[in-house]
């Protein structure tokens, strides 16, 4: 039982947790800036970039995927500008067309690639691949202390540890700047803080989180990881620092319960197949948000003017 858990569930849950944290932390600042959908837009736009990078390199590796994603984001910005100028339509519509168009293009390119020998296909790109990130060599708890066996852990785990650590350290180091730029951007500039660099970095961090989480939860569901934990966290507290900590707690809870319910839940009801772990993680995130909407201690102060 324990052995099976470590082989099949431990690494996916860890990866789910770390991906969730990587998305939830920048998500806090996005929702406070009322730019939550930037996470959505980025996760859509980067898909063709990731796919093209994958076709060129033939492997799933973070650096080429990030470069591809950055290239795709650049193309998106240029396309939006062109459509706005030539089409004379409102910016929102131009963005909507470009995001969905590029996402669809990514799906089409992916369909044309030879998926027989590689482990990236449309379903995984959209829904994630958490269940396959297993650790077969593990033999019980002692494997956690066995270097040779530890080396056989999925590469995805090491990548997401690195990304999550990177995002958390940047957040801690630049905490004050992030906070003031999020609250009052103009004022931040008058006290010598480069707001535009902070804003740009936040978008880059969001893209890194989206690319890193892409492997585990796919590019559709990742938006739930950006929005649900921080939005639920906002309803738990009126202090930014505590909000970020709550968002991490909710991301962890969603990953653990989402994975376990997806893997074992259907069995409890007599079904033989498990359901998508990424999908269930998003559903659990949504349920957490619903519960905080109903019972969160600070829900009254949000969106209501008091005089």
């Amino acid at each position: 039982m324990i052995n099976e858990f470590i082989q099949f569930s431990l690494t996916p849950i860890l990866i789910g947790i770390l991906a969730g944290i990587s998305c939830a932390v920048p998500g806090n600042f996005l929702i406070l800036k009322r730019q939550a959908l930037i996470g959505d837009a980025i996760s859509h736009v980067v898909l063709p970039g990731i796919v093209v990078a994958f076709i060129f390199t033939g492997v799933i590796s973070t650096m080429p995927m990030l470069l591809g994603a950055a290239g795709a984001a650049l193309v998106a910005v240029i396309l939006i500008e062109i459509i706005k100028r030539l089409g004379k339509i409102e910016p929102g519509a131009a963005m909507g067309v470009v995001f969905t168009g590029m996402f669809a293009l990514g799906v089409l390119i992916l369909e044309q690639t030879d998926t027989s020998k590689v482990h990236l296909d449309v379903e995984h790109a959209l829904m994630g691949n958490l269940e396959s990130l297993i650790w077969l060599k593990a033999q019980g708890w002692q494997s956690l202390f066995d270097l040779d066996v530890l080396k056989t852990l999925p590469d995805e785990l090491f990548r997401i540890i690195f990304v999550c650590g990177f995002i958390l350290s940047l957040t801690v180091i630049f905490w004050r700047w992030l906070k003031i730029v999020t609250f009052d951007e103009e004022y931040a500039r008058t006290i010598g803080i480069h707001s535009s660099i902070i804003n740009f970095s936040l978008v880059i961090i969001t893209a890194i989180a989206a690319v890193a989480a892409f492997e585990s939860v796919g590019s559709i569901i990742v938006i739930a990881m950006f929005i649900c934990p921080p939005a639920a966290a906002r309803l738990m507290t009126n202090k930014l620092g505590i909000q970020v900590i709550w968002s991490i707690v909710f991301a962890i809870l969603a990953a653990i319960f989402g994975y376990i319910i997806a893997g074992y839940g259907p069995l409890w009801f007599g079904s033989e197949n498990s359901v998508s772990a990424a999908g269930m993680i998003a559903v659990v995130s949504g349920i957490i948000l619903l519960l905080t909407c109903m019972y969160g201690p600070c829900r009254e102060s949000v969106g209501q003017k008091k005089d």
């Binding site: 004022y187 006290i191 009126n238 202090k239 930014l240 600070c298 008091k306």
Partner: protein
């Protein structure tokens, strides 16, 4: 354009803020065109003009938030660029989202970020500075309050306290009395007058023409371009008000505003 120099209390020899040929545009639309101004040191100056005249834009251009097309800005005869720490800016209250998860003392401490740096610790000293600034605006007892629960007037006082924490030489305020209660207006004007008595310079975008004479010593009247600038008594005239506001101001109203009042200003 009227430019008055020479008075006993104000020393415009070295203006606190000197603006030359400042031009800003939003896309094709010119927001302000070649505006000049010399705001004197240790006085209270108002920037007045109709909606869309470029008053807030002028402030934002001075502090570098709004890119400028042409023109120069000097603070005590030095370029503004390396002297921003001498300016404390109080943005319009409605420019931020007051649902932000933070409390009153935390917002005031933002005024000390430049002083403590990115990673420096907020020590007891900084907390007592912030508390002292809150006390000056009459908000000390609300220091732990969540900012979303403040009234408009209280929000404005918190913003003023944050600027006080910067201990600057020049205070730029964007419509500080807009949408605040009478008690707050009184409290803010008292704080500004005490700043002036300590030789600080106050420059505020103001839109209540009825109080210009009571509150300010100096006025810049703009409507995209300069209309007039100088001491209130000589500049805040019927004629200048008419040219600033065009036909938007009733003639009788303008005469009433520009007539010097007999009652002493507090």
């Amino acid at each position: 354009m009227i430019n008055t120099t020479n008075t006993s209390e104000i020393t415009p020899s070295k203006p606190a803020l000197k603006i030359q040929g400042l031009t800003v545009s939003y896309g094709d639309k010119t927001a302000i065109f070649s505006v000049d101004a010399n705001f004197p040191t240790a006085s209270m100056s108002a920037i007045i003009g109709p909606n869309g005249a470029g008053k807030s834009t002028l402030l934002k251009a001075v502090i570098g938030v709004q890119p400028i097309l042409a023109g120069q800005v000097h603070i005590f005869d030095n370029p503004v660029k390396n002297n921003l720490q001498k300016i404390a800016y109080v943005p319009q209250r409605v420019s931020v989202d007051w649902d932000f998860p933070t409390n009153v003392i935390d917002v005031v401490q933002m005024g000390l970020y430049r002083q403590v740096g990115l990673l420096g610790r907020m020590k007891g000293e900084q907390t007592s500075i912030a508390m002292d600034c809150l006390d000056r605006v009459g908000m000390a007892d609300m220091w732990q309050q969540q900012i979303g629960q403040l009234s408009g007037g209280q929000q404005q006082r918190v913003f003023l306290a944050r600027a006080l924490a910067q201990d600057a030489e020049i205070y730029l305020l964007d419509e500080p009395f807009s949408g605040v209660d009478a008690a707050t207006e009184r409290a803010i004007i008292d704080v500004l007058k005490s700043l002036k008595s300590k030789n600080k310079s106050i420059i505020a975008v103001h839109h209540d023409l009825a109080t210009v004479r009571d509150y300010f010593d100096y006025v810049l009247m703009i409507n995209i371009k300069n209309i007039a600038e100088g001491l209130i008594d000589e500049t805040f005239t019927n004629e200048n008000l008419q040219s600033t506001y065009g036909g938007k101001l009733e003639l009788t109203h303008a005469e009433e505003l520009s007539a010097p009042k007999d009652r002493p200003t507090k």
